[in-house]
Symmetry: C2
Subunit: 335 residues, 2 copies
């Protein structure tokens, strides 16, 4: 690696002057600066990130806390899609992405310690167990943090608008004439609670009666669980006319069960998913779903974090709510 020192020698100036030229500082003549920059380029110079970080305590590196252990967050299209757009946007702004784990070079450490060690300028947190104390410690630190789909005090957050979205979704289904709507929901998380609350509230506002047996706990990304839940629902004497699933992928379990019983979607029963991933658009019939704008979520997260990093004086931890939209497929029948 060619260093600033070698450039200095080549140009017959001091290392300070080279540094100034490269950083477009003021107290250097434009001619010298240009000359230095040209030779630096010719010599194939690129700054040593470590030395820079050491001196400036700026790493141009964003830590990403994403899934922990062997869980499959990376293979969940909603999250991997967020990660993808986040990465694009962050790279555009000149930041690298590093996964934050709990050990490094053999030493066990907390997430915060890891970030400190690496000198991360900021951290994005998604798809983790937010009740983990090690996560709380990180959020409470002075490192800029933005969380996705979870709200901490005094911490930037990008939130898919689950409350409004569920409202829209239920009203859409209601508008199609459905009065007996069932909800197979995911594990107990903040997101699930929001969707559930909104499901109940919207139903009540519409004057719908939601019997307890129409709300069943399933699981995210788990077709087996939704298959079982679907069977329970179909076995009821008063069947629902429409079933909401935790997400598009887990809907597949419901689809199988419905077809197994010789019923047809949407003629015999209507269904909707949640997420709006690619899969739902290629299935037949096309899955009606609530499309979460994962691209926007990733991009906004990156922007918010970069703002927090680069303008700490004016930055106030914002919460940005990203609207979803009902994506109309062919799985909800007009009654």
């Amino acid at each position: 690696m060619v260093t600033i020192k070698q450039i200095a020698e080549a140009c017959g100036v001091s290392v300070a002057s080279v540094s100034k030229a490269l950083n477009h500082a003021t107290d250097i003549s434009v001619e010298t600066a240009e000359r230095i920059r040209v030779t630096a380029h010719e010599m194939g110079y690129f700054p040593n990130a470590a030395a820079r970080l050491l001196k400036t305590s700026r790493s141009n590196n964003i830590g990403v806390l994403f899934v922990d252990g062997t869980s499959s967050g990376l293979t969940h299209e909603y999250f991997s899609s967020i990660l993808n757009s986040f990465k694009e946007e962050a790279e555009q702004s000149g930041y690298d992405i590093t996964f934050i784990s709990r050990n490094m070079g053999g030493r066990k450490m907390s997430y915060l310690e890891h970030c400190r060690s690496r000198g991360c300028d900021g951290v994005m947190i998604a798809s983790v167990d937010f009740s983990n104390p090690s996560v709380a410690e990180l959020v409470a630190s002075n490192i800029p943090v933005v969380t996705i789909d979870y709200l901490f005090d005094n911490c930037g957050a990008i939130l898919s608008d689950n409350v409004q979205s569920m409202n829209d979704l239920v009203r859409y289904i209601y508008g199609k004439g459905h009065r007996r709507i069932a909800f197979v929901h995911g594990e107990d998380t903040a997101v699930t609670r929001n969707r559930l609350a909104s499901f109940y509230k919207t139903s009540r506002d519409l004057g719908l009666d939601i019997p307890d047996e129409h709300v069943i706990k399933g699981a995210y990304h788990d077709p087996r669980a939704s298959g079982l839940a679907t069977r329970q629902l179909l076995d009821l004497s008063k069947r629902p006319t429409c079933i909401l699933y935790p997400d598009d992928f887990s809907y597949i379990g419901g689809m199988n069960e419905i077809e197994r019983q010789g019923l047809s979607i949407p003629d015999d029963i209507s269904v909707v998913g949640y997420d709006g991933i690619y899969l739902g658009r290629v299935l037949r019939p096309k899955l009606t779903t609530l499309r979460q704008d994962s691209d926007a979520i990733g991009i906004q997260a990156a922007r918010l974090l970069v703002e927090a990093i680069e303008s700490p004086r004016t930055y106030i931890p914002k919460r940005v709510v990203i609207p979803g939209m009902v994506w109309e497929g062919d799985t909800v029948k007009q009654l």
Copy 2:
């Protein structure tokens, strides 16, 4: 951040001694070392990665070159699953994962320059355009590299055994009594060429005649393309009895087309996928496919890379071939 210097003061020793104690060096008494380590722990010390890297030129950081631009590698389950297991294994060995892009802090640079800047100890390359000169430059450098599903000279590689796998797959189908086997294949890549060659060779070895119209170019992860290809195949006067798809996900397009024509899988026509992702196991009928061991691929890639990094003297760039296996679902009928 507490530094080595502060520990030295607290213990009344020199920074050199602290460093030695922390690194379990030999020329320090066990008692002093222990005393230093205890106070270091009490004070919440963690090493500054930048300073360390600067001094030792070891970063404990692995660069990952994965998709570039807006392509969707991250949302392809085969690749995201490899990334996931790679990440787990690397973290286990004490390495962080950083995505390598082409700019950093505003400066455009090549992949190699990026790696040099960050001081990556090694690089894993997957799911990129391997003909990109910037990739070649990186591979040709002195930084340890392992590629996935692609072979460079003098560079470690983990390869899913496409040749043997395709052989197994075709023989499995043949064993089920099929004699007219069609292949919808993906875009022209090294992987595709291997699968195609093996498809032809195995067919010939089995004495099968493969008419040109039974081999159609589709695309990976693209149900639309396989839908079109399927229509072409079904329109033939002499239909195939079994269709191979580029991957499990793109099979969905074929499935739709087959059902649209009122045909049934596998009674009217048999199908197989490739990859063995979760999706295929939850569809009904379960998709018979060639399961690529993405976990093993990620893990072996990490192991090989770590070996290249930590034992440069004894390391020889290996190619590790990971066998796949026919995963028997219910989409191939016994004729």
